[in-house]
C-alpha cells in the first residue's frame, strides 16, 4: 500500500514558500471557492418575483386616492437565484461558526442551536404582542422566569426587561436614576464616566441631559478611588462604571466606590457588558450597584446576527426599581403571571414608572434563547462559564506576554480578556497592521484601539467556548504575527492579502458618501 500524505502535512501547519493565491488571472474574477457576487440591483428585475401571488383583479379600491402609479424600483429574484445570491454573500463573512472570534468586550461565544429551535416554536414565534393576555400566558411566563433568574444571578431587586440592546439598557438605567433624583427634588447635573468606558456610556448620559466628566484612573488601570471621592458632591447624579472594566480588570474597590457615591447622594450604574467574567461567581447587587444592563447577546449567547438584534434588560436596586419603565410582568400570589402596563400599574403598586421605552414588551425572541441558555447551563454551568472564560483569557495573556507588551500583566491576573499594547513594534507598523495580518491567518482581529487609555490597544476575549487546541492555534498565529511586527516585516502594511477584499478606502467612503445604489444608466 502507498502512503497518501508523505509530507506529513495536516491542516493548521505552515507550508514553506507556498502561496495559495499565486497563479493566473481568471476570466470571472472568481478564485475557485472565493466567489464574487454582483449587487441585487445588477441582477434582479422589477418584473421578477420569487413568490407566487395572485394577479391583481383591478376594479375599485379604497385607498383614498393615494394609490401608487410610479414604479418603486425594487428588483426581484426567483427563489433559486435568491438563495444563491445570499449564500454567495454569506461566504464573504467571518463568523463564530468558522473560528475563534476574539473581539474584546463583545463576548463572541458559541450560539447554541437548541435556542434557535426553541425561539421558532409556534407558541413563541407566531404570537402577536397584543393578543389577550389569557392567550399568551406561556410567553409572559418566559419573560417572568427569565426576569427571575436575572435578578437571582445579579442579587438585585427588580429588572426592566423591555430595553432593546445594551445602549438602550444604559439609557433605561440612567433614566431611572434621573427619575429617582427628581422624585426627591434633587436636580443633579453630572455623571462621572471613566475615560476607559465604551462610547455608549458618555453618549447615553448626554442623551439623558447630563454633563459628562471623566473619572481618573490609577496607573494600574482601575478607578482612582481617592480622586473619585474628591470629585463627588451634590451636583453628581451618579457614576457609570464597567466592571470588570474595559482593561480586563476587576474593580477591586467597587464596594467602596458604591458606598462613597451613595454617601454623596448619587447612584451607581454598572455597565454589564463584561458580566460573562463573573456570572455565577459574583453578584453585582452585593457590590452596591443600583442599575446594570445585561447584554443577552453577550453573556447569554443570543446571536449577534451581524450587528443585532440585541437585548438589554436592566437589573435595578430597591432604590431604583420603583421607577423602572412599563411594561413588565408580575406573578401574583396564585402564581399567575400578569402583564403590567399603564392601566394596571397601580394594582401592582408601580405608579412611579418613568414611562415607556419601546412599543410592545421587549425582545421576546432573545428572551426564549437566553432562558434556554440559562437552564441548559444551570448554576454549576454558569459558574464554569465564568471560570473557563477567565482561564482562557489568562492562558492567552501568559502565553503571549513575552512577545507582546501587556501593560497590566505584571499587576496580576486578568478577567475574561487580555489587553496588549503596540509597544515594541517596528517603526511604522501599527496595531491595525497586526490586526489585518491576523485576517490572513484565518482569524477575526481582536478589538483594536480600545480602551483608549492604552496605546495601540489590542483587547483579546477568547470566551469559554474555545477549546485548548483552538487557543493554542490562535496563540501560535498571534505570536507569529507579533514577531513579524517587531521585526519590521513590511508585508504587514498591505495585509490582508488573502481576504475577499484588500484594505478598503474608508476616507473616500466618508468624503463622497454613496449610501444607496444608483443605476448608472439613470445617472
Amino acid at each position: 500500500m502507498s502512503t497518501p500524505n508523505q509530507s506529513g502535512w495536516k491542516p493548521g501547519t505552515p507550508v514553506e514558500g507556498h502561496n495559495a493565491m499565486s497563479g493566473p488571472d481568471t476570466a470571472t474574477g472568481n478564485r475557485a471557492l472565493m466567489l464574487e457576487e454582483p449587487l441585487l440591483f445588477e441582477i434582479g428585475h422589477v418584473g421578477t418575483t420569487g413568490v407566487d401571488l395572485p394577479e391583481p383583479q383591478g376594479g375599485t379600491n379604497r385607498l383614498g386616492g393615494f394609490e401608487r402609479s410610479e414604479e418603486i424600483g425594487l428588483p426581484g429574484l426567483s427563489e433559486p437565484e435568491t438563495v444563491r445570491h445570499y449564500t454567495r454573500l454569506s461566504r464573504q463573512n467571518y463568523a463564530i461558526d468558522l473560528g475563534l472570534f476574539p473581539l474584546g468586550s463583545c463576548t463572541m461565544k458559541h450560539n447554541p442551536r437548541l435556542n434557535e429551535k426553541i425561539a421558532r416554536m409556534p407558541g413563541f414565534a407566531d404570537v402577536h404582542p397584543l393578543q389577550p393576555v389569557d392567550s399568551v400566558r406561556g410567553a409572559l411566563e418566559v419573560i417572568n422566569e427569565l426576569a427571575f433568574w436575572l435578578i437571582d444571578l445579579t442579587g438585585m431587586h427588580g429588572v426592566a426587561m423591555s430595553p432593546k440592546a445594551g445602549a438602550h439598557g444604559e439609557l433605561c438605567g440612567i433614566l431611572c436614576i434621573r427619575a429617582a433624583l427628581e422624585a426627591r427634588g434633587d436636580a443633579r447635573e453630572v455623571i462621572l464616566v471613566p475615560e476607559s468606558a465604551h462610547g455608549t456610556n458618555p453618549a447615553t448620559a448626554a442623551f439623558a441631559g447630563y454633563k459628562v466628566e471623566d473619572i481618573p484612573a490609577t496607573p494600574e488601570g482601575r478607578v482612582d478611588l481617592e480622586a473619585l471621592k474628591a470629585r463627588l458632591g451634590p451636583d453628581v447624579a451618579g457614576v457609570m462604571i464597567t466592571n470588570p472594566n474595559t482593561c480586563g480588570l476587576f474593580e477591586r474597590d467597587m464596594k467602596a466606590i458604591s458606598d462613597a457615591v451613595h454617601a454623596a447622594g448619587g447612584f451607581v450604574y454598572c455597565d454589564g457588558a463584561n458580566f460573562n467574567a463573573i456570572v455565577g461567581k459574583v453578584r453585582p447587587g452585593d457590590l452596591g450597584v443600583d442599575a446594570m444592563h445585561i447584554n443577552l447577546h453577550k453573556t447569554f449567547s443570543t446571536p449577534h446576527g451581524g450587528g443585532g438584534p440585541g437585548s438589554g434588560p436592566v437589573v435595578l436596586s430597591e432604590a431604583l426599581a420603583p421607577y423602572g419603565p412599563l411594561p413588565f410582568t408580575a406573578r401574583d400570589a396564585d402564581g399567575v403571571v400578569h402583564l403590567v402596563e399603564e392601566e394596571n400599574a397601580a394594582e401592582f403598586e408601580h405608579t412611579r414608572a418613568f414611562g415607556r421605552m419601546t412599543a410592545f414588551h421587549g425582545q421576546m425572541g432573545m428572551f426564549t434563547r437566553a432562558l434556554a441558555y440559562i437552564l441548559s447551563h444551570g448554576a454549576d454551568g454558569l459558574k464554569q462559564v465564568a471560570e473557563d472564560a477567565v482561564l482562557n483569557a489568562n492562558y492567552v495573556l501568559r502565553s503571549l506576554e513575552d512577545v507582546l507588551d501587556a501593560p497590566f500583566g505584571p499587576s496580576g491576573p486578568c478577567m475574561h480578556e487580555a489587553l496588549f499594547s503596540d509597544k515594541g513594534f517596528a517603526e511604522g507598523l501599527s496595531t491595525l497592521d497586526l490586526a489585518k495580518a491576523m485576517i490572513d491567518e484565518g482569524y477575526h482581529p481582536m478589538t483594536m484601539y480600545f480602551p483608549l487609555v492604552v496605546h495601540g490597544a489590542m483587547l483579546v476575549e477568547p470566551t469559554e467556548t474555545e477549546s485548548k487546541a483552538a487557543l493554542d492555534q490562535f496563540i501560535m498565529a498571534l505570536r507569529s504575527v507579533a514577531e513579524r511586527a517587531k521585526a519590521g516585516d513590511e508585508s504587514l502594511r498591505t495585509a490582508p492579502h488573502y481576504a475577499p477584499r484588500r484594505r478598503l478606502d474608508e476616507t473616500q467612503a466618508a468624503r463622497k458618501p454613496v449610501l444607496a445604489w444608483n443605476d448608472p444608466d439613470m445617472a
Binding site: N61, P129, D152, A167, G306, G307, F360, L375, Y395, R502
Partner: protein, 455 residues
C-alpha cells in the same frame, strides 16, 4: 456541560502555564466578601437539550399561536407569510454568528447586504438615504423627533403628534422628551371616517420643529401627507411620516414622494414575523441627502479596496457614539442586523411585482372583510379609506368581546380599549387587520361569531 470544551486535564495544564495554583487564584482581585462560595442559589444544575426543550415546549403550548386561530390582529405588528428560504438564509452561521462589520475585508457579506437593504428601504420610502436599521418602529420614531430637534438647532422645541399615531410610539416619544425638554403636543384620536388633517395642520406653529403623522394611521385611515407636508414646510417644520405596515407601500404612494422629510417605521411585516413583539426592525430614511450627517445609527457606504475592487464599509461614523462619545447623534450601537437581512431577503423574493401583488391581495381581502362585517347587525365600519386594516365600531365594549371570542380560537383584532385604556369614548372600537394569510373562511368565522355575541 455540552457547550464547554475544556476538560479537567486541559484546565490543569493551562493553570500550569499561567503559574496559578487553582482557578480561585485568577479571581484574586475579586474581594472575598463579593465572591460566592458555591453555585448560585435557587438555580437548578445544568440540564440536557431534551430537558430544556421539554420545559420550553410546555411554556410555548400555553400560548394560542396565530396559525391555530382565525387571526385579525395588527396595530403595528402584522402577520404575513414568510417564504421558507428567508429563515434558511438568516440561519446560515456566516450571517447569524457574525459581529457588526467593523472589519470590512471579512464582512463583505453583511456589508453588501446592508447596502442593498438601505437601497430597498430608501426606494420603498421614496427617500434618498436609509440607515442600516434601528431597534424598532417606536424607537426609530423617537430618534426622528430627536433628529428634527438637531435640524432646528434647538431653536424650536415643539413636537406636534398626530392623534392617530400608534399610542405606544407616542408614549415612547413623550417618555424620552421628558429628559430632553422638548414640548410634546399630543391629542387623542377621534373616531371619524377621514383623518382630521386640518385639525392637525392648525396645531403647527412657528415654534414647531416637526409634525409626526402615521400613514396609514392607527385607525387604518390614509392622511393627506402632501397637504400636511406643505403646511409644515410653510412654518419651517419637518414632516416625520411613520409607517407601521410596509406592505401598504406596494399599493399607495410613498411618504417621501408626498413630501415627508424623515420617514421611519416598523419593518417587521416583511420577513421578520410576529415574535410576541420583538426583535423587530426599525426603518429610518431621509428624503434629502443634506440631512444625512444628522442621522442616527449605522450607515453602510460604497468604496474601493487597495486593489481597485468595489467594496462596502460602515461610514460617516463620526456621528456615532464610539467616535463622538457624548457628542454623538444617538447612543445607539447594536441595531437589528439580522432582521434587516430577513427583510431584505423577503423583499428580494417579492421584488416590485410581488410586493404590488401582495399589497393588492391584502387590500382585496380587507375590502371583502369590511363588506362582510358591515352586514353584521351592531357593527359599523368607520373608515372611508384603508389599506389592510380598518376600524369597526361595535355595539358593546370591544375589549370584552375580543376576550370572549378568544375562547373560541378567534383573535378578532386589537380593541381600542387595549391601545387607549381609560378613554371611554373609544371603548367600542376594534381594529381589524386582514392579510394574505387570512382566508375567506376566517372572515366568515369572525362575522358569524360577532353576529352571535352582538345579537
Amino acid at each position: 456541560m455540552r457547550y464547554l470544551p475544556l476538560t479537567d486535564t486541559d484546565r490543569s495544564a493551562m493553570l500550569d502555564v499561567i503559574g496559578a495554583p487553582d482557578i480561585d487564584a485568577l479571581f484574586a482581585d475579586v474581594p472575598e466578601h463579593a465572591r460566592l462560595s458555591g453555585p448560585i442559589e435557587g438555580l437548578p444544575m445544568h440540564a440536557s437539550e431534551m430537558a430544556v426543550e421539554k420545559h420550553m415546549r410546555r411554556l410555548s403550548k400555553k400560548n394560542l399561536a396565530a396559525a391555530d386561530a382565525a387571526f385579525f390582529l395588527g396595530a403595528g405588528a402584522y402577520r404575513h407569510h414568510v417564504p421558507a428560504s428567508v429563515d434558511h438564509i438568516i440561519q446560515r452561521g456566516e450571517f447569524l454568528t457574525a459581529y457588526t462589520p467593523y472589519q470590512p475585508e471579512i464582512a463583505q457579506g453583511t456589508l453588501q447586504m446592508l447596502f442593498e437593504f438601505q437601497t430597498q428601504v430608501a426606494r420603498l420610502y421614496g427617500c434618498a438615504v436609509a440607515n442600516a436599521s434601528m431597534y424598532d418602529g417606536s424607537t426609530a420614531c423617537w430618534e426622528a423627533v430627536a433628529m428634527a430637534g438637531r435640524v432646528a438647532r434647538g431653536k424650536k422645541r415643539k413636537v406636534v403628534l398626530s392623534g392617530a399615531l400608534h399610542p405606544h410610539y407616542a408614549e415612547v416619544v413623550k417618555t424620552m422628551a421628558k429628559f430632553t425638554e422638548d414640548e410634546i403636543a399630543g391629542a387623542p384620536p377621534s373616531l371619524t371616517a377621514k383623518p382630521d388633517d386640518d385639525g392637525l395642520i392648525a396645531r403647527i406653529d412657528d415654534e414647531t420643529s416637526c409634525v409626526v403623522v402615521q400613514y396609514p394611521d392607527i385607525l387604518g385611515r390614509l392622511p393627506d401627507l402632501a397637504k400636511i407636508a406643505a403646511a409644515a414646510h410653510d412654518k419651517g417644520a419637518l414632516l416625520i411620516a411613520v409607517n407601521t405596515e410596509p406592505v401598504a407601500l406596494g399599493a399607495v404612494t410613498s411618504p417621501g414622494e408626498l413630501g415627508a422629510d424623515i420617514v421611519v417605521g416598523e419593518g417587521q411585516a416583511i420577513g421578520v414575523g410576529l415574535q410576541f413583539g420583538g426583535p423587530y426592525l426599525g426603518l429610518f430614511a431621509v428624503r434629502d441627502e443634506k440631512h444625512v450627517r444628522m442621522m442616527p445609527g449605522r450607515l453602510c457606504g460604497e468604496t474601493v479596496d487597495a486593489g481597485g475592487k468595489r467594496g462596502f464599509v460602515l461610514t460617516l461614523s463620526t456621528r456615532e457614539q464610539h467616535i463622538r462619545r457624548e457628542k454623538a447623534t444617538s447612543n445607539i450601537c447594536t441595531n437589528s442586523g439580522l432582521c434587516a437581512l430577513a427583510f431584505s431577503v423577503h423583499m428580494t423574493l417579492l421584488g416590485e411585482k410581488g410586493l404590488r401583488r401582495l399589497a393588492m391581495e391584502n387590500h382585496r381581502l380587507a375590502c371583502l372583510a369590511a363588506d362582510r362585517l358591515a352586514k353584521v347587525p351592531g357593527v359599523k365600519v368607520l373608515n372611508e379609506s384603508f389599506f389592510n386594516e380598518f376600524t369597526v365600531l361595535l355595539d358593546g365594549d370591544a375589549r370584552m368581546i375580543v376576550r370572549d371570542l378568544t375562547k373560541r380560537d378567534i383573535l378578532a383584532g386589537v380593541s381600542l380599549g387595549r391601545l387607549f385604556p381609560g378613554n371611554e369614548g373609544l371603548a367600542n372600537g376594534l381594529l381589524v387587520a386582514v392579510t394574505e394569510t387570512t382566508t375567506e373562511e376566517d372572515i366568515e368565522t369572525l362575522a358569524s361569531a360577532l353576529e352571535e355575541v352582538l345579537a
